[in-house]
């Protein structure tokens, strides 16, 4: 079940209290739910707090070193009957209650020693530094990687988040034509609140994966359209792949590489407005190993034509 507390803080078993405190502060800053929005960070943050609460207390730490994860079941006066053997403690001691919450502020009392407004407030609102009232949980974010085709189609998708509390699976409905960076909100599935505080929201942030064929910008899609020299010169109807399955585009005669043909409304769909456009970008290809007949024809063309592409014509 629970990970080893020393492992959680990344310190050796003989680490001094100062080293433990340093490791805790560093990890707590990096994993605080408002600094790191990954749901896994909040679980780590709770683990770190729990580990520090035990290892920073010499008495609790001794018990933990001696009894491992069962240390909470050990009575406070265990050191007297220790000669009698460990077995006698099972169930004999009064069970210790765990920490009231993962967000305890224990161990912070030595921070910021100067007198400031906080010290005054500390006396006014409850004991110690932690306010007793409920605190709402933080919002969390996870990335939802999608292929261009998946983003185009949309629809339900299962997302499983792993965590120390076990995997959670959500069925997310992806809106067709979801754009990169768009956030899908799962209300109340974010960080847990303290006390009666409401949980935060979980956001799935759509991330479009690079695609070998499609380049997506907003809702517009660009796709390369390879053409043979004669197709580019003479024009014609040419098939072009689209995430919807493909369509045909009319190439105007005399189209050179780099020309963009716009297919209005053939880009990413938009549930709330006009869909994006699809741009077919012309790229002229030549036969890599021309046959004798092709070579002859090209040579003939070179003789007859006075077209010079380097003379801006």
């Amino acid at each position: 079940m629970a990970r080893d507390f020393y492992e959680v803080l990344g310190v050796s078993r003989d680490a001094g209290s100062e080293e433990i405190q340093q490791a805790f502060r560093r990890l707590a800053r990096a994993n605080h739910p408002d600094v790191n929005r990954d749901p896994a960070a909040e679980e780590r943050f709770k683990e770190i707090n729990e580990a520090y609460q035990v290892l920073s207390d010499p008495e609790e730490r001794r018990k933990y070193d001696r009894f491992g994860e069962n240390f909470r079941k050990v009575p406070d006066d265990w050191e007297q009957p220790v000669g009698a053997g460990v077995g006698g403690f099972r169930g004999g001691g009064r069970p210790r209650t765990g920490p009231a919450s993962g967000f305890t502020s224990a161990g912070f009392d030595d921070l910021g020693g100067s007198i400031d407004i906080e010290d005054l407030l500390g006396g006014m609102f409850g004991r110690g530094r932690a306010r007793a009232g409920p605190i709402a949980g933080a919002d969390q974010e996870v990335e939802l990687p999608l292929t261009v085709e998946e983003a185009f189609r949309g629809g339900p998708r299962q997302v499983t988040l792993t965590g120390t509390a076990g995997p959670r699976t959500y069925t997310v409905t992806i809106p067709p034509g979801v754009t990169d960076g768009q956030r899908i909100r799962l209300a109340g599935e974010g960080g847990r609140g303290v006390g009666a505080g409401e949980p935060g929201d979980l956001y799935m942030v759509a991330r479009l994966l690079p695609h070998p064929r499609y380049r997506v910008s907003g809702r517009d899609i660009t796709v390369d359209l390879p053409l043979a020299p004669w197709e580019a010169a003479l024009g014609g109807s040419v098939p072009v792949p689209t995430p919807a399955g493909g369509t045909k585009v009319e190439v105007p005669p005399g189209s050179s590489t780099g020309r963009r043909l716009r297919l209005r409304g053939q880009g990413m769909p938009n549930p709330r407005g006009a869909p994006g456009d699809l741009f077919a970008e012309i790229a002229i290809m030549v036969p890599p190993r021309p046959t004798e007949a092709e070579r002859e024809l090209f040579a003939r063309l070179a003789e007859v034509s006075d077209f010079d592409p380097r003379r801006g014509g």
Partner: protein, 104 residues
């Protein structure tokens, strides 16, 4: 005692502009009115002052108050430091958003 004023500029979310009375805001955030007054003085919470002097609070600031309390409870920061942390977190979020937009 000098208190440094650190305005937290954050674009309000949609619907977050609805104003709550001080009592309503305290009830929903679980914050004592005196503490809320301090938050306003420190620039951690922005209130709208009516001509009569009464303070109103945008609904969206409930989430800001929860964040303040989480940072305080989780990292033991004082409120002036939290003002700076919130400001920097918001700025980082905005920069990350711009970076993503530019790279896509």
């Amino acid at each position: 005692m000098t208190v440094h004023f650190l305005p937290v500029r954050r674009p309000p979310a949609a619907g977050a502009r609805r104003l709550l009375s001080r009592d309503e805001f305290c009830r929903r955030s679980g914050v004592h009115p005196e503490l809320l007054r301090r938050f306003v003085a420190l620039g951690l919470v922005q209130a709208v002052r009516e001509p009569g002097g009464e303070l109103w609070f945008p609904l969206g600031q409930l989430a800001d108050v929860a964040r303040i309390e989480r940072l305080r409870r989780g990292l033991g920061l004082n409120y002036a430091a939290i003002g700076l942390v919130c400001e920097l977190l918001d700025r980082i979020q905005e920069l990350e958003r711009q970076l993503r937009e530019r790279s896509s």
